[in-house]
Amino acid sequence: MKRILHHPAPSTTGRQYWRSLGELSDTPDFREWLEREFPAGAAEMSGDEVSRRNFLKLMGASMALAGFGLTSCRKPEMHLVPFTKSAEWVIPGKFLYYATAMPRRQGAMPLIATTVDGRPIKIEGNPLHPDSNGATDAFAQASLLDLYDPSRSQRFIRENKVSDNATFEKYIADLRPKMAANGGAGLAFLVEETWSPTRERLRAELLKQFPRMCWCVFEPLLSEAQHFSTQISFGDSTRLIPQFDKADVVVALDSDFLNCGEGDLTAVRGFTQRRRVREAKDSMNRLYVIENRFSLTGAMADHRLRFPASQIPAITHALATKIAAATKDPGLSSVLITLKAPTRIEKFDARWLEEMAKDLMARPGASLVVAGSHQPVVVQLMAFGINAALKNLGTTLLLRELPKTPRNSSILQLASEIDAGRIQQLFILGGDPVYSAPRTITLDRKTKQALDWPELQKRVPDVVRLGHYEDATSGLSKWHVPAAHYLETWSDGLTPSGAYVAIQPMILPLFGGLSDLDLMSMVLGRPKVEGPELVQETFRATAPPGDFETAWNKFLHDGSAGHIQPKNREPKFNGNTAGGVAHTLWSTDVAPPTKDSPEIVLVSSYSVDDGRYINNGWLQEMPDPITKLTWDNAAMMSPAYAKHLGVKDGDLIEVTVTEPTPKPPPSKPGQAPPPLPPPHALMKRQLVIAAVIVPGHADNSVTIPLGYGRKHTGPVGEEAGFDAYLLRTTSNPHFIVADGKAIGSVMVKKTAGHYALSTTQEHFSIEGRGLVREATLERYRADEEFVTKIAGDEELPHRLPTLYTHPNLSAPQQWGMTVDLNTCTGCSACVIACQAENNIPIVGKLQVAHGRAMHWIRIDRYFASAKPFDQDHGQWPENPEIVHEPVMCQHCENAPCETVCPVNATIHSEAGLNVMVYNRCIGTRYCANNCPFKVRRFNFFDYSQRPVGKTKIAGFSVYQEYLGPLTDKTPAETIKLQKNPNVTVRMRGVMEKCTYCVQRIEEAQIAAHVRAGASDKTLIPRDSFTTACAQACPAEAIVFGDIKDPETRVSKIKAENRNYRLLEYLNVKTRTSYLARIRNPNPRMPDAEEIGVASPEHEKGKAVLNPMEKT
């Protein structure tokens, strides 16, 4: 029992002592100060029960007691607390798996959530559904951490004062008559895209009650151009589904279709399926990419042209013209005939385009041209036309029918409605429009001044905001309502391919949040529902076959409704309509960007998407696949352009975008010309941002990932990076270039100052070593054994003996892994999956800069080019290719780490695992020093138990990790709930590394033994489980299994001739092996000689015994 001591009440008579005038007069300020005990912000815990003060109190008490009765010699008394009534299906400590889905802007992603004791601890893809096929991406993996984020919104707030649910319900009930006035003309909804049929159904019901209400869908990164172009070319309620698995030749025009963050895993799977070559006779697809910055897609390209994003329309026109001329396709021609050929176009090798067009045309019906979703409508239309001309419609490009829904308003329409004063009640469901809405969203009716969203939102009297965080939008809303996470709510969704999936909750809302469906049903005046009734009603309407209860249970079990099959429509490209639209939108006079007037390209971030994951520590610390930057975004630019600006990595640049100087209106004769507005009235947008140099970036082009620089979120996301939304306007969602119409000038210049960036890989040259092995398909066909002939890793003539005692590898099953470099896109889903599975902490920006990131998998990103380059002396490759290589513990059979451990904390198991025993480790770090792959990670601080990163103490920014015991122990209770109970949470001073998910191996082993019972059938069934990284990989690049059994997937892959091991010459005998990368260049292309050059062939007869001696 905790006793609360009450001090005797102070006497009010007699002599009193006072310390300040404030105390004497007993002012409220003083009372507050007194009650707070500490000045504002000093060592106050964020809502945790155990404060440091309490902790010290308890510690003091227990020390005192220890002196008396030695009671503390006994271990503390702990309790076993069973249920009172047993809960269905729950077996303490056993995992349960439920199907659910994650709503994304492109469609829901079908998932399986692993729960233990009622808390979800891991997300996997749903193997029963082809839209996931068991795989996930980094965002889905990391969304789990968002669920437990203690800085998620937890309170109802009314006009900046804490309120509660009941008051809110009353408020909505009172508001309903007002909303109904005038048919709901004053009511507006601004919602995120979730593709939920139930939400659509509730919307239809809302429309019945409020027929004139405005329904606006806003997603900063959901391209309206692509949607619009599809509708006008192919008809309403349709979506194009590219079939990458059927395409032999793919051309990506500024399209990052391999970015699975877009939520489309089928594209990644389809594409990588065609890159899997098992033997030399296998065929492979070919990928051409034209883009300004290196994207994941560009890194996979066989031929890549770096080209300004603003010039994509021009080059698409050139390509379309070539194809139209050759195919004489009427559809494409009718588009092109309306377009004036661009006069000014960035220079490029005409042969490059010529040969690419020929390659496309050589495979009619088996090629595919995809345009980046944010490219303008004209580009989309031309891309459709090209596909139509190449007979790809219906073969590699399917047209999927979507359910018919009423038209959505855009945020621009909503803005002008608000400006006109028509909107009285605004419901903002999700998103953060104050942060992410386009700037200059509308012009004020009266003053003709540009208006931004915040001013507009302030004009609406009743704004209700449902949000995950108390952010900028909440601050300007009358009501802030905490939103529930998707793992806390009942809902449903459509996948990118149009399948109907269920979203079921894993846990009750941790912080009392509401879902968008709850809120809409509240607005409808319906009683609150706790269960799945709303979704059930939608499901019932789909007329499931048979008994409803059975069908519903099957729906929840499988995660998707099998009886609703998405329908395809015969795609007919409407060239005439498209041509008409294209004609009105076509502008030919956009000059190519120059040194003095570059283009600015705004793209989604691989780490935080549009900013929604900014408070997610896993994603913040996940190195960007291309720049390897953590915790920040930065302006990417080519080495040449950086040289021109005179900047190095981390130097600050200032980006200035101004609107054009208005031309004086033609003055009427006899009148004085009207005065021009003064120069300062011109809209000028500025952003100061750190620069980062990325080889392979187009010159005179600067790419800035969106989503960073968010001011009002939790402690993880605040002050991370720079806010590129400041530059984004309605007319320039993707690239900003001085076109004389919307943009007058774009200026980038170096400014004083340096910003510390934390990257995980600063060196990117392979230095001629055989770590990454790559060849062209041609070379592979000519010499199937090429992997053994890579320069820098000349094979030793005979097998080396080893001095070390070899472990007895006697277990019946031996574990091993392969990583296929040919299909790995570098998307980093495995990195986050591993982090979630293995309780890997985040370490903060400073520690990453010190090289102390804890990820068990790192993805090495190498640049390679035909011309030699010397990064150390500032010689950068101009037009390089990228190879990604995931490196985790290689589980060497002759492991160098094991021999140097003084306490036997790392040893070998009979199954071939290099085992790490945390409770033995004393932290000498000899093993890490001796590891040739540098995959061991050391807990320099108590990352799992104490906060990391900056905090303000007495006005100073201090890195908390250095305060050690002065900080509050125990992370938030909710974060602890995420931890995998089968993996030890490591403490300070302990080494750790990839374990091949030993907990999963043991789990499978124990299950096999339990099944065996009184028999000797103790083998784990073949390929019945896999590691977290392999399970998450959307490209199936990582394969894990028993290498002793020749029939397992991994054994078959290891038998392929592309298989090689890292640093073979060290004779460490790694268990993880790699499959060499094959590129498939078109031999007729002008740059064919520069492709697949990462690993040159070594010269015969020049084998050196020790490659280190090579100079």
């Binding site: 009172t84 303490p92 000797d1016």
Partner: protein, 241 residues
């Protein structure tokens, strides 16, 4: 010059050294003996909210372990029974017993009974009950004569060395699969003829064990070990992950 130090001080360093050695030995010895689970854990018998008599329930009434600890065969944890399980009988039997008050109040209030944990493995040890009880290891092996305990106490040390005793030589502890929850089982209970007919003999044994009068624990264990392919992990990852 006078002697500053009297004569007896000549022996002082030696005496001090001897004392020091004795002291260090004593400290080492005491730690060796007292600071091991053999001393710190064995015999631990905390006061439980309800002094649940295993002897009455198991030995007198003949209840099987798995009536209450139902998940022991499928899960890593052997669960403590829910209040519901107690109330299955105690709504009929011993309805008024004052000792059962915590159980009854738990049933009415919904607040669980806070049983005091006795057997506890450290956080970095991943013990799995299902893997043991399905493969010939009895409850008795680790928990002792629970069926004769009026109130449960810690009977075995549960130290790592103790675990390894069995993991290195499981034949000393294995028993037939139907005797796992029979805590009074003795190797002598085994009928050699029936046993050999069912499980055979280990390869390489020449004499016919079915003719023997009694089988020893080692003989039974060796038979089962080979028959069931029992290979307990002696490697770290078996228990530490």
């Amino acid at each position: 010059m006078a002697n500053f130090f009297p004569r007896w001080t000549n022996w002082l360093p030696l005496k001090m050294m001897i004392c020091g050695v004795v002291l260090v030995c004593a400290i080492c010895g005491a730690t060796w003996y007292y600071d091991t689970p053999k001393y710190t854990r064995v015999g631990y018998q905390p006061v439980q909210p309800v002094p649940f008599p295993h002897d009455v329930h198991v030995t007198q009434l003949g209840m099987d372990c798995r009536y209450c600890h139902g998940y022991v065969e499928v899960a890593a944890h052997s669960n403590i029974p829910d209040t519901q399980v107690c109330m299955n009988c105690h709504t009929q039997v011993q309805k008024e017993n004052p000792k059962l008050e915590p159980v009854r109040s738990s049933w009415t209030t919904g607040q669980p009974v806070p049983w005091v944990q006795i057997h506890r493995t450290p956080d970095y040890v991943y013990y799995n009950h299902a893997a043991h009880v399905n493969r010939g290891i009895s409850c008795y092996t680790c928990h002792g004569e629970i069926n004769h305990m009026p109130v449960v106490y810690h009977a075995k040390p549960h130290s790592m060395a103790w675990c390894l005793e069995c993991h290195r030589a499981p034949e000393n502890f294995l028993r037939p699969e139907d005797q796992i929850t029979n805590l009074d089982w003795k190797p002598d209970d085994v009928q050699p003829a029936g046993f050999v007919a069912k499980y055979g003999q280990p390869a390489g044994v020449k004499d016919d064990w079915s003719q023997k009068k009694h089988l020893t624990q080692t003989e039974i264990g060796l038979t089962l070990k080979q028959r069931w392919d029992i290979k307990p992990p002696t490697n770290c990852q078996g228990c530490h992950r």
